[in-house]
Amino acid sequence: MYYYIYDSYLSEKKYQKELAKLEIRLTDLGINGKIIRLSLLKSLKDMVLDEIRRGAKNIIIVGNDNTVNKVINFVAQFNDIVLGIIPIGRPNNIAKSLAIPVGEAACDVLSARRVKKIDLGRVNEQYFISNVSIKSPDVVLKPDNNLQIKPQGKNININIFNLNTKDNNSIPLSNPQDGILETLIEEIDGVWRKKHKNISFFPLSKLQIISKQPQSVLIDGQSSLNTPVNINVAKEKIKIITGKDLF
């Protein structure tokens, strides 16, 4: 049986038509299931863990990158859960990286059920599936005690990828099954037409990021921590339904 977790923002009127279409498509494909609607009053953790305790094996996240990140942080410890994503709303870069189309079309991906086991990144106590980023040159990256990588320049963008999209040619593509986090440090020029220059790239399995002043760290695109942070490939992996045989 499939368990569909709808993020709370999907209760807005503008999403109702899309959700109705989606539910019809899921029924047509014979993969409809229990719908769990999140709300500000209900704890995501309790709801997800309750369903897992009752035997849920297929959890489908209906929402955006933030929804995916929240759910993986609760299900990472369970190695027999298969996750799926139906991206509705933005940002949805994680689904894009997994070749999952937006909205109703994602139902066919679920139905095809190409399950892949992929790495998860870990930053301090939190998991991430896609990337960790910092937009500041005032940090030091330490792969170990004997090595320091110091960004040079003004508009520095640091990205540590487990999984990324192929939107930007300056970004190397990652394989989320290789136990390596691709660390990209680049300078960004321009406001509207961004130009990526002076690219540095390090394949790492772990690193620490420190700074004199706390710097904001985005996890899967959401602001949630300040430096210092320890980042590594988690020992836990997740099973996830992908749009193509990507890896």
Partner: protein, 132 residues
């Protein structure tokens, strides 16, 4: 490595790029190819190839399988296989290798020793690598 069309394709050989956006300090030990376009202070060891590009400034002893140099190096340069020194290169340090080529215009201040590379033991223990 960059801009490949096939998403998730594993690069044939993992590459590290030290660009002008960073300064690296310390002992840099890698299993893969390295391209340097920025600043490195410390030491560099890799089992694969190393390319020091024109604007790179390296204050470090370096060891690799093969090394191509177009930038500035202050430190000893050891390559198990070959070293290729391009016209814009400036090297202050000793060179040990099996095969050496030098372009007109390159500046070298140091001793050159040929054919003693069998003594060179490039880093090969996983536990010592800080870059994959």
């Amino acid at each position: 490595m960059f801009g490949k069309e096939n998403n998730f394709e594993q690069p044939k050989e993992i590459e590290t790029v030290i660009g002008a956006s960073v300064k690296v300090e310390g002992d840099f030990v890698s299993a893969g190819n390295i391209i340097i376009r920025g600043i490195v202070n410390g030491s560099i060891k890799t089992q694969k190839n190393l390319s020091i590009e024109e604007k790179a400034v390296v204050n470090a002893n370096i060891e690799a399988e093969s090394i191509k140099i177009a930038g500035t190096i202050k430190g000893d340069v050891i390559a198990k296989n070959e070293i290729s020194i391009l016209s814009k290169a400036q090297i202050k340090g000793n060179i040990i290798t099996n095969s050496l080529s030098i372009e007109k215009g390159a500046v070298i201040n140091g001793n050159v020793t040929m054919g003693q590379t069998e003594k060179i033991k490039l880093e090969d223990k996983d536990k010592n690598k800080n870059i994959k």
